[in-house]
Symmetry: D2
Subunit: 337 residues, 4 copies
C-alpha cells in the first residue's frame, strides 16, 4: 500500500502516519519527493480497515497495490478451474452451450423445448422457476412446481439443470433439484445469498451485476469461495450504459480481462445482453471467438406466447442453426463443441 | 399502447395484429401514414404480457403510453404522502435529518453519538447492524446485538430508529426493533425482500439502486405497496457513472422528477453519494434547496477508527455546524427544520 | 408522430393541438382512450421543429415514429454500401485490416512499420500526423511533415493511407495526401468539420464518439452525406462506461445494430477500445466473428519507445500472428481475408 | 510516480526499470514487499512519455502521484480566480446569472428578451449565432447576422455577451463581437479550438463534455491556459448516464470537487442539464446552495415557437420569479445576487 501525503503535510504529520502504520504491523518506507512525500507500507493486510489512515491529517489518499480478491485470483491459482457438472466440463477445451426458456410455463412445453435444444447440441438445460420481474404484476414463476417440471425434463433428456435462486430461504429447496444454482444479475451483491449458496456443494452460475465492475464481480465470487464452494462459473450478461439500441451493452472485453486476473471459467448470455433475438446469433459467435468458455441462450418453442422475455428468445430452429454456425467459429479459435 | 408496423408490413400482417389485439380485449385504431402504419390500442392492460404482439410479423415496435407503476404514481394520488414515524413527519413542511454511524460498533460509542446527533438537531437515528460489504473479509455488523444497542439508544434519546435488512429471514427480527426498515441500494431489486417488508406495517426507507432508473425505483416501491404497505420514503444515494472523483454521482434532478410523477417523499444521502465527508456539507445544502424532504447523514464520533465508511462520516461537531447552516437554506425554500 | 395528451387535458386543449398540427401540414387522427387521449399525426416532417407541439397546454410528450436519419438508413438503401479506396473494398466479402502506429515519429520507423504490416496482411496504412491529446504537454504530431512521411510509405508499399483531421482549416491539406480522412471520436459531433469533409470526395472513417448513441453516430454520418459524400466507413472504438479494467468498453453489439438500420460498412478499433495490447488479439477475433467488415489496429515496431499510445500497440510479430489467427475466424463466418 | 512490479518480476527486470528511470532523470526508491516490489520515482516530469516504463518486462502498472494539470490547479494558485467581464465579476461573492435564448432568431425578439432578462436580474446575455445541432436538417443559426443582433442588444441593455464558437475559422470574428466566448460540451476536447481561443484575451466559458471526467475538463482548461489565457469560467451542464428521465444527469458534486482541486470559478447550466423547463427552478436553487458561482439559463419570450431547445426554456415571467426565489438561497449560503 502507498500513502500519498498532501503537498502541505508537516514533518509531524508524516511521522504520525508512519507510527500508526507501524502500530498496525506494517513496515514503512517514506520517499521524500520534491513536492510530495509518499510512504510505502509493506504487509498484506486485506483484513485491516485502512481508512483510518486515510483520515489522518496530511494524508491525501491511499493507493492499494494488491487486488482485493484472493481465492478467485490467478495469482493464487494459475491453472484454469474446470467446473464439472455430471459429465459436462466448463472451462476446458469444449465450448458448452446452456439453453432453455426464460420461465417454465408448463411441463409439455418445457420438456418439448428440452428435447429440441438437446438435439441441437445444448449440454445443459436452463429454466426459471422463481423469476425476478421488474413489475409486481408480471408472472413470477411456478416455484416448486417449476422445479418438478425441470426434474422431469432432466429425466427425459439427461441434461443437467441450472435455475435461479432469489431468496436465502429457497436455497435448500433449489439445491435439491438443480445441478447448477444461478445467482442473477440483480442479486450479485446480495451477500447473504452468496454466503448461503457458498455453503452448498453445487456449482454456481454467477451473473455479473448490471453496474458491477469486474473487480466487484470477482469479489462476489470471493464471497461464495470464502464459504468453501469453489465451483463458480462467471456469466457476462451485459452492463448498463447510456446506449438504448440494445437492452444492455454486452462487454466482451470482460472475457480476456477475467482470463488474465482469475482462474474461473466465464460464459456469456447474449439473450439478456442484447434483449433482442435478432442479435443473438452474431454476438454468440463474437463471444466464442473472443474466448468465452460457453454460452447461455434463451430458447422458447413459441416466443410470441412466452410468459417472459419472448423478444429475446430464439425458436428451436434458429437455435439449431446457430449451433451449426458456431462450430466452425469454435474450431477457428482452437475449441471444440 | 401504440403498435408501430414496419415499412414493409403487409395488409394481412396489419389485420392479424388488429385481430390479436382485439382478442386480448383492446379497441384498435389503425392510422395509415405515408410510409408506416401505426395501430392505437385502447385499454389499460398493465397485467398483460404484450410482447406477444411485438413478435408478430410486420411489427416494428411497441410504444407504451401509460406508466408501469400505479400505486406510486401521482396520477392515482395527487396529494403528497406524509410518512409518520412516531411524532416525526416525513414529506411535510419540515425537513427531517436522519443521522448516525454506518455500523454499530459498541454501545457506548453508539449511545454517545446518538445523544450528540439529537442535540445537533437530528430527528431519527440510523445505524447498521447487518452490513452489506463488498469484501467478505470486512466487518459484517453486530447483527441482533447491534439491534439491542440501537434500542438502548432510542430509550436514552427518544429518537426513532432506521436500520437495514438484507435477508428475508431477518425481516421479522428487524421489524421488532426498528421504526423504519431500510432497503439498501444493492437490494433495490431483491423482489422477495421487497414483498416481505411490504407485509409489515413499518415505514420503509427505499434506497435507489446504483444503476436504477427512476422508473425502476418507483416499480420497486410498487412491489412494496402491492403488499399493502404504503409508508415508503425514497432515498437518492448517488448513481454509478464514469466519473471517479466521487464514489457515486449524486442525481439531485431525481428530486423534481420524483415530485412530478409520484406522491412519495424523497430524501437524499450525501454521505454515500459522494463517499467523502468534505463534500457532504455542500451537497446537503444543494439537496434541501432542490426540494428534498430530508437527509440521511453518516456521523461518527471518531471517523478515523470507524469500522466502516469512516472517510464519508462527519464528526459530531461538523454535523452540528452543518445543521446550523442548513436552517437558512431550508427557510429560503419555504421549509422548516 | 404520436402526441400523448396528459390525463387532465381538456377537450379544448386537444382541439388546439389538432389545429396546430393541421396548420403545420399534418393529417391528424385522435384516439380517445379510457384514461388518456393520443393524437396520431401523419406526414414526414423531419425538418420541422416540433417541440412547439410539446409545449402546448395539455401535451404530455411526443413519440417520433420515423428515424431521424435518412441517407444513412437501410430504409432508403437496402443494398450494403461498399466503400472503394483504390483496389480495396470495405463492406464486401473481404475483411479489411488497417494498421500502423498511433503517431508518425520519423520516416525510417514509419516506412519500416508500413513494410512489415503490409507483409503481414494489412491492406491500408494508418498513422497520425495531427494528434488529439488529452494533455497540452504531450506530443502533438509532426503535422505536414508527418503527411509527407505517410506519402513516402505509400510509395514504397502501395498501401492507401488513412489519417485524422482535427481542424476545418486542415481538411484541404490532409485531403491532398490521404486516401481516407479520419474523424476522431472527440470530433464526432464537430459539425463544421463533418460538413467540411462532406464537401471532399475522399472516403471518411467516422469514429463513434465516447458517449455517442448509435443513432447520434448515424446522424453524424448524415451530416457528411447531406453534403454529398456517401463514402463513409463507421468505426466502433469503445464507449465510456463505469468499468475501469479497460480504457473504454468495446460495444460489439453495435455491429448487428448498425447492419440492421444502416447500409454503411462498420469496422472495429480494438486498440483504442481496450487500451491494452494484451486484449487486442481476443477482441479482434470477436469483432470479426460478430460481423465487422474490418479492423483498425495500432502497430509499432518499438511500443516501449512510442511517443503515443504505446501500451495499446502490437509489435509487428504479434500483429503478423494475429492476422494468421484471424483468417480461420473470418472463414468461419463466411468472409475472406 | 510509483511503478508496481508484478509478483513474478525478476531481480534483473527490477534493475532494468530502475536504470531506465534513472536515465530519464528520476531518483528511484525501490521497496521490496513480501509479495511485490514497488519503485518510487521522484521528479515532476509531466512532459515525459512514461508509458515506455509501463511496457518494460515485469512492470504491472504505473501509479501517478501528481495531478496532470498544473495552471488550473489549486496547488499552484490557492486564491480563487475572479473572471472580470466589464463590471461583472464571476467567482466573487456575487452569484451571477447569465440568461437568454438558445438561438438568436430575429432582432426584435432577441432585444425584447434581453431587456426582460436584464430587468429580472440577469448580468450577462447569452445567445447562439452558430448552433451545434444533432441533425443537419435542424436550424443552424444566423451566424454573423446573429452576432450583429447580439451587439444591438448589448447597446440597448449594456449587458456583456456570451456566444459559442464551433470552428477555429470563426474565433476572430466571434471575438470581435463577444465578451465571453463559449466552448460547447461537444467541443470540450476540440484541442485546436481550445488553443485558438487560448490565444485571444477574451474570457472563456468552458462547458463540460457529456462524458468528460472532471480531470479531463480541467485538462481542457489547461490547454487554453497554456496559450496564456487564464480567464476561464467552468460550466457544469449535465453528464450522460443511463437515466432517461432527464436529458442529462446534472452533476452538482462537480462544484465542491472543482473548488477543492482548482481555483477557477464554476457555474451551472440547469437548462441543458435537465432538458425540461419544469426542473430548472429546483436545480437552480440546488446549484447555488451547493456553491456554484453562477447560472446560465435559457429564456425565450415564446418557447413554443423557439427554433431551438424550446422545451428547456423559461418564459421571462418564470425567469423573473426564479431570480426572486434564488436571492434568499444565495443569501442563505453567504452570497449576494
Amino acid at each position: 500500500m502507498i500513502i500519498v501525503m498532501s503537498q502541505s503535510a508537516t514533518k509531524e504529520q508524516i511521522d504520525n502516519v508512519e507510527k500508526k502504520l507501524s502500530d498496525l504491523g506494517f513496515k514503512t518506507h517514506p520517499i521524500f519527493g520534491e513536492i510530495k512525500t509518499i510512504i510505502g507500507a509493506i504487509g498484506d493486510k486485506r483484513l485491516l480497515n485502512l481508512h483510518s489512515i486515510s483520515l489522518m491529517p496530511g494524508v491525501e489518499n491511499l493507493v492499494p497495490i494488491m487486488k482485493p480478491f484472493k481465492l478467485a485470483s490467478r495469482e493464487l491459482k494459475q491453472v484454469p478451474t474446470i467446473v464439472e457438472v455430471g459429465d459436462v466440463k466448463i472451462g476446458g477445451p469444449e465450448v458448452i452451450v446452456i439453453a432453455g426458456p426464460c420461465a417454465i410455463e408448463d411441463e409439455q412445453t418445457f420438456v418439448d423445448t428440452a428435447i429440441k435444444v438437446k438435439a441441437a447440441g445444448a449440454k445443459i438445460l436452463r429454466g426459471g422457476a422463481f423469476k425476478p420481474r421488474t413489475s409486481p404484476y408480471a408472472f413470477q414463476g411456478l416455484e416448486e412446481d417449476g422445479l418438478k417440471i425441470m426434474a422431469s425434463a432432466r429425466e427425459v433428456t439427461g441434461l443437467p439443470l441450472v435455475t435461479e435462486v432469489m431468496d436465502t430461504r429457497d436455497v435448500e429447496l433449489i439445491a435439491s433439484y438443480a445441478d447448477i444454482i444461478q445467482i442473477g444479475a440483480r442479486n450479485m451483491q446480495n451477500f447473504r445469498l452468496l454466503r448461503e449458496v457458498g455453503m452448498t456443494k453445487k456449482a454456481i452460475l454467477l451473473k455479473r451485476g448490471l453496474s458491477a465492475t469486474i473487480e466487484e464481480w470477482l469479489m462476489a465470487a470471493e464471497y461464495i469461495m470464502a464459504e468453501g464452494n469453489l465451483n463458480i462459473i462467471l456469466c457476462e450478461r451485459g452492463i448498463r450504459t447510456f446506449e438504448t439500441a440494445t437492452r444492455n451493452t454486452i462487454d466482451l472485453s470482460a472475457i480476456p480481462v477475467v482470463k488474465e486476473v482469475s482462474h474461473l471459467p466465464i460464459i456469456v448470455d447474449p439473450s439478456h445482453a442484447t434483449g433482442t433475438w435478432k442479435y443473438v446469433n452474431a454476438l454468440s459467435k463474437g463471444a466464442i471467438a473472443t474466448g468465452a468458455d460457453g454460452l447461455i441462450i434463451e430458447v422458447h418453442s413459441d416466443p410470441a406466447n412466452a410468459l417472459c422475455d419472448g423478444p429475446q428468445s430464439l425458436r428451436p430452429t434458429n437455435f439449431s442453426q446457430l449451433i451449426k454456425e458456431l462450430e466452425p467459429v469454435a474450431n477457428a479459435v482452437g475449441r471444440k463443441m
